[in-house]
Subunit: 311 residues, 2 copies
Amino acid sequence: MTSFAIIGTGAVGGFYGARLHRAGRDVHFLLHGDYEHVRAHGLRIDSKEGDFTLPTVQAYRDASAMPACDVVIVALKTCANTILPKILPQVTRPGSCVVLLQNGLGAETYVSSIVPECHILGGLSFLCSNKVGPGHIHHLDYGRIALGHYRPGGKPGGTTEQMRSIAAHFEAANIPISLIDDLTLARWMKLVWNIPFNGLTVALNTTTDRLIRNPDTLDLARALMQEVVAGAAALGRTIPNAFVEKMISDTVGMAPYRPSMKLDYDLGRPMETDSIYAEPLRQAEAAGVTLPRTRALCQILKFMEQQRASS
Amino acid sequence: MTSFAIIGTGAVGGFYGARLHRAGRDVHFLLHGDYEHVRAHGLRIDSKEGDFTLPTVQAYRDASAMPACDVVIVALKTCANTILPKILPQVTRPGSCVVLLQNGLGAETYVSSIVPECHILGGLSFLCSNKVGPGHIHHLDYGRIALGHYRPGGKPGGTTEQMRSIAAHFEAANIPISLIDDLTLARWMKLVWNIPFNGLTVALNTTTDRLIRNPDTLDLARALMQEVVAGAAALGRTIPNAFVEKMISDTVGMAPYRPSMKLDYDLGRPMETDSIYAEPLRQAEAAGVTLPRTRALCQILKFMEQQRASS
């Protein structure tokens, strides 16, 4: 029976892990602050697709107590990835799949250096959920995953038998999943939305609807998106301009929204500045293009974070 | 006897006008909110160069009551320049000199269209003063003026007999003054400091010392300065890179400072976004260069101003 480890049992990892468990899979949850509560009371998911509770789950406080699993789902914020060198060697064996359900760029390369004998998959999660209490997750909407194989240098990874197997497990758990050939392209396409709206909602203490209704910040958001397209192009990936316009029009149609980085900032948590901004800038600049607005926004965010840390 | 009109009797116009009056010049002050007070009590200047009061000054509430003057000093915020078409025709005659002691770009061209038979001079004021009460100005430091002749298209204007005459009056009032050949170059050089530090202190709710000590915002400030240099270059003006580094090192040596735009924002007053950002961007773009960080900062400021207005 395929075994799953969930590293980071929060809004994302907790939701997917609970759905896999409910579908009968062998799931092992690594927890930190919620360990005692989940050990005693299990997990609770409130969802528009059906509420459910799992009174007893395989919960761990320490990765060294976990078995090596076939599939390891990393759903930490990227700012916490520095703990992975202590965890991943404990929960993998050669040939395990490590699935990084994370934002931005750079995590796959980092993780492949920690567990070079594992298959590294990148996952893009289109999920709207919040952790509302210990072991208690509120699933608001969506949930689709796109999964791609990481190859050194970010080359298109194709689709493997293991990926199809993982996809089948997720589908059994009623999670829509698509397999993608080119993880690098998919990650840059997600940045087209993330780079303008994560940073600008933080820098301007606002929500997406206000940014998109104001002609100045609409123009700035579009210019940031076009910089992301230019960065992708420098890496040989073509993102059509129609995709930029679709991201704009999708955002026009959204309810007022605080992206994850804005939530992190408001809650005093670290922001994913490095994976969403600094690493894409590094890759684009190594490929010979500068993204001046993106760099300025990154610098503004780093200043805000440093001021908060020193206050 | 040479007559002077002061349009905008605030921290800048009030200080220079009072010094000219003290030096025996015929000075006419246009006032708005402070009119009654100044009519009754005159002007008071607290200054490290010597406190003084002028119990009786020629104060006016309405420009139509003022005489046409030889020299008209406009010391309004540029956001208030829309009132000039009602004022300048009242206080000038053909051949009058209009001196614009204002920030940013574009005011000379605008004013020359209002009073085409006047000589238009641009003044850069290096003055640290605040209005602390009605008719009461606190002069903290500096005071030097640089004066240049405006020519259509921003061409170097040379030095005229009238400029030398005005300079002699200011020197008699103990105001250091230099005559400059190329007003366009001088205005762009002042923007090298104004564009990064006015906008970033507003956007990041901070002071110059914090921006200059943080490596990210120091880098951003330098990049903004280099964009200003590129804008000037597109208009045929060379600002040496050593000047950028001098502006950086001067700022490192300054006490914590809120630039004028930050004061305006904090006091709920309009910001000079148009003259300090939008007009330089228009001129640079018309000459074929984009200044992406400067444009982004301008858009951020306009968003902040619009949000404040609508709240």
